[in-house]
Amino acid sequence: MDSRPHNRRCAASTRVIRILSCERRLETQHAGSGFSLVDCLISNALALALISLLSSASADIISTIQVAAERGDQSLRLRQVHRFLNITLLTAKMPAPWTAYAVSPNQWQLPSDPCVSPAIGGDRPQWGGVAIIDLSEMPCFPGAVTGYGLYVETVHPCPQGCEKRSGYRVRPAECETEPRREAGTRVQWRAEWQEVLSHPKECPQDTPWGRIERLLLSHRSAADAQGDQPELRVQSSVGGPEFGWTTAETLVAGIEDWQIRQLEIPRAPVSSPIGVDDSPAVQIDKLPRHLLQMVISVAATHPRQRLAPMTSSRLLVPTY
């Protein structure tokens, strides 16, 4: 008898048993692996503790970052105002080589009338200057502008930055005379409107000439802003056949308060305290000075920070 079929059946049944036993082993292993409920609870508790720890640390850091960002923003806005003033006030006078008579270094030179066109204002010994003006008394400014404004008349030497543009050209009224004369004479300077600024043809080639610009800084308070941010605004004069002023544009937003005033500084040397080295390198003023003082207060942009406004005071000293 051939026993091979029987052997084959036996081998097959043995294989089936082996497979079944393997499956059982696997089932047994699966049943014993993975996390128990206690493991899960512990790991969850650990995870929650870590997350809460990190959240509290993050909240502190985020709050610090927000405060720092807010402070940085406030100081940035103040810097913008000061930078604008630095550039503008630097040109609030005629260049020194143009004038034989420098203005007294103790006060700002007074500019010409802001409501009168430079072209019809007549000849002047000097152009440029800075003044505080009461806006309610100035009918030439468009819009409901009130309070005080800082009016700056600037003189820019040409031909640098004067090509292919219109503006009020300023030149010596009498070209044949030397602008810088010996003491005792005064050169008059004349302003006239030009569609395209150019060197005065009737004058010698080396005659100095420039252009005049006028700017007005004013403040719009939160009450006047009607929901908008309080802001520092700038207006400039528009030339041409009809002289006037542009409507106010935002210079820097978020300026909560703005005060501009004239300050008279008497001669007041203060004795130095004992032990402090006084250097004679810097000469101290001996005469009273008429300065301008500007106080600006910048509010926080995000009210939830509840940061106090940053207030900056700036003494505007004539640098003639």
Partner: protein
């Protein structure tokens, strides 16, 4: 499996700590920039005061406490308020007539700013 979980947690926590460190660095940078801006403004105003009063009175801030001195209330208020933003600040008059303002930064280093007073 527990090891896998622990490794993943460590990586996550390390990432979060890295982010916090980055945030702290950004804050320090902000702070430094702000302090420099404050110091620049303070020294600029003090240098302006040098035109009217002696340097000793300025660096000791006596100009702000002297009732007989010039009326610099707003300037003094700003200077004293803003100097509080600069930890351990110190004002010095240098031999050349300049003013040096130094303060301690958050990382422990001392930063300083020196301004030349412009003669009249």
């Amino acid at each position: 499996m527990l090891m896998d979980y622990l490794i993943a947690s460590v990586i996550g926590v390390a990432g979060m700590l890295g982010l916090l460190q980055l945030g702290a660095e950004v804050t320090a940078l902000h702070q430094q920039s702000f302090q420099l801006s404050v110091a620049e403004s303070v020294v600029r105003e003090l240098c302006t005061l040098l035109r009217f009063v002696e340097v000793g009175s300025v660096v000791s801030l006596e100009v702000c406490t002297n009732p007989k001195g010039p009326p610099f209330e707003d300037t003094c208020r700003m200077v004293t308020d803003w100097l509080s933003f600069l930890p351990e600040y110190r004002l010095d008059a240098l031999a050349e007539g300049d003013i040096k303002l130094s303060w301690r930064h958050a990382d422990g280093d001392r930063l300083s700013l020196r301004f030349a007073a412009r003669p009249l």
